[in-house]
Amino acid sequence: MSVLLRTEKLCRSFGSLVVTRDVDLEVSRGERHALIGPNGAGKTSLVNQLGGQLRPSSGRIFFKNRDIAGLEPEAICRLGISRTFQKNNLFRGLSVRENVRLAVQVHRGRPYEAFRSTLADRALWDRADELLERIGLVSGLDRRVSELSYGEQRQLEIAIALASEPELLLLDEPTSGMSPAETDQMIELVRGLPSSLALLMIEHDMKVVFSLADRVTVLHYGEVLASGPPAQIQSSERVREVYLGGAH
């Protein structure tokens, strides 16, 4: 498999606090890669650097052999990396459909047109409905997002992220705060994503990690502690010590 994303000695610190330390990470095309580690291990900070929300202090991020470290989020999205957020980060006052349509519009529409109604562009609405159907939201699409259940909002996060047809999808704790039933549904949803799409997902729920990931990277105090296939990670003494067998 060819390498899609590769970081090289990626570092980020806030003053004397180092949240990312010399991280070398590789994600191949179509790979399902899980990022685990105790709270404060720097998982979200790492994803924020990949998505452009946080600028790295040093090091490089290669996506399709192009250095994207420090680019703006909108530029990174256009290159083919899309993301969801740990806390639902939606257009709460707008309808479910409009949330996805906005994302489709920038990807394939002409977002600066001022003299045409958004209602006229059926193709965008149809595409939005198609994406919503894929993540399992088919009814009540004209409701405001704030009226959705928490779990439905988590699903909507993914529909919006898929609208840009990314090659790499960053999922920041897709099952956080979900009930066991909702979690199972989410596993099915993620499993059903196209196999050409690479996933890098932060996850706390080991059931989710081991049922989805081909590869697991463990972060500890901003450093990569171990990286390998799930079975290897499960049997690693060091990982057990700091994470799997420890406080969790």
Partner: protein, 320 residues
């Protein structure tokens, strides 16, 4: 589309036709009332343009008077000093307002929240000082009289009714344009920025550019309002560049209902009625405006028109 939507469409068209007919008939009610409505409509244009920034893009600007004033001064100065017809002046005024919105916006959209508010206010106060100091051109605080109103195919705008109809046409034009804009792809991106700037960037929108476009369009319409103000008054003074006018416009937007098309119109109406009615009884009319404003913020967060949209018939709701 369901039949109730079609019914809504009919109701909306009927309401629009009634409003236009009522606006056209205003001169029948006498000169005083006509002037009053003309003034309300000029400031309604100004407030609607500000609402594009405040209510739809989610940026609180405290310097919108800059674009109203630049245009009014351009029209009047070109007329008084260069003898240029008001029509060319109006065109030049709108272009100048849009251009200054572009320059000022270029710096302001880099920040948001309170810094944005302060920066827009600082830029508009800068223009205010220029108008105060550049006496030879602007007449300073004394103002600049002597503007001659142009004629429109033989009808002089010195005729109160003709002037009024012209302003009313500018108002209807602005209302219609902004309504179309809000429903367009471009308008939807502005609403997206208001709702969640971070997510807009994450899905690939250049948020600063969208803010700048919103700022320039708002500046251009404020420029139309400013030009019509120059026609209306045939006189400009530095008041129209002062931050107090920017603040008045923010009050109009919030009183009427930010993020609605018609709200700022209602807000301009309420504000100017309060001003005219109360100031004929007491010099401290601003206190009462303040009381109304506080009451509105405490009990009527969505503004007067916002409440009507919430409680009123469904077909009205498309005014957002």
């Amino acid at each position: 589309m369901s039949s109730s939507d079609l019914g809504g469409d009919r109701a909306r068209r009927l309401a629009a036709a009634l409003v236009v007919a009522a606006l056209a008939a205003v001169p029948l009610a006498g000169d005083y009332f006509t002037s009053l409505v003309a003034e309300v409509l000029v400031f309604a244009i100004f407030a609607m343009s500000l609402d594009l920034i405040v209510g739809y893009t989610g940026l609180l600007s405290f310097g919108h008077a800059a674009f109203f004033g630049v245009s009014a001064y351009t029209v009047t100065m070109l007329g008084v000093h260069a003898g240029l017809s008001g029509w060319w002046g109006m065109l030049a005024g709108i272009v100048m307002s849009a251009a200054s919105a572009w320059v000022i916006g270029f710096f302001c959209v880099r920040v948001s929240g309170i810094p944005f508010l302060m920066l827009t206010m600082a830029f508009s106060q800068l223009l205010y000082s220029v108008a105060v100091k550049w006496r030879s051109m602007t007449g300073g605080t004394d103002g600049l009289p002597g503007f001659v109103r142009p004629s429109f195919f033989g009808w002089s705008l010195d005729d109160r009714s003709v002037l009024y109809w012209f302003i009313a046409a500018g108002f209807v034009f602005t209302w219609w344009c902004l309504r179309r804009l809000i429903r367009s792809p471009l308008g939807s991106t502005m609403v997206g920025v208001r709702e969640n700037e971070q997510r807009m960037r994450a899905i690939g929108y250049p948020v600063q550019r969208i803010k700048l476009i919103s700022f320039v369009i708002a500046g251009a319409f404020a420029g139309l309002g400013g030009a019509l103000y120059a026609f209306f008054n045939a006189f400009v003074s530095t008041d129209i560049l002062h931050w107090v006018l920017s603040g008045d416009a923010v009050l109009m937007v919030i009183l009427g209902g930010a993020g609605t098309i018609t709200g700022p119109v209602i807000g301009a109406g309420i504000f100017l009625m309060l001003k005219h009615v109360i100031s004929s009884h007491t010099d401290y009319w601003m206190i009462w405006v303040g009381v109304v404003f506080i009451a509105c913020v405490m009990f009527l967060r969505q503004g007067v028109w916002g409440l009507v949209l919430e409680r009123g018939p469904r077909w009205l709701r498309s005014d957002r």
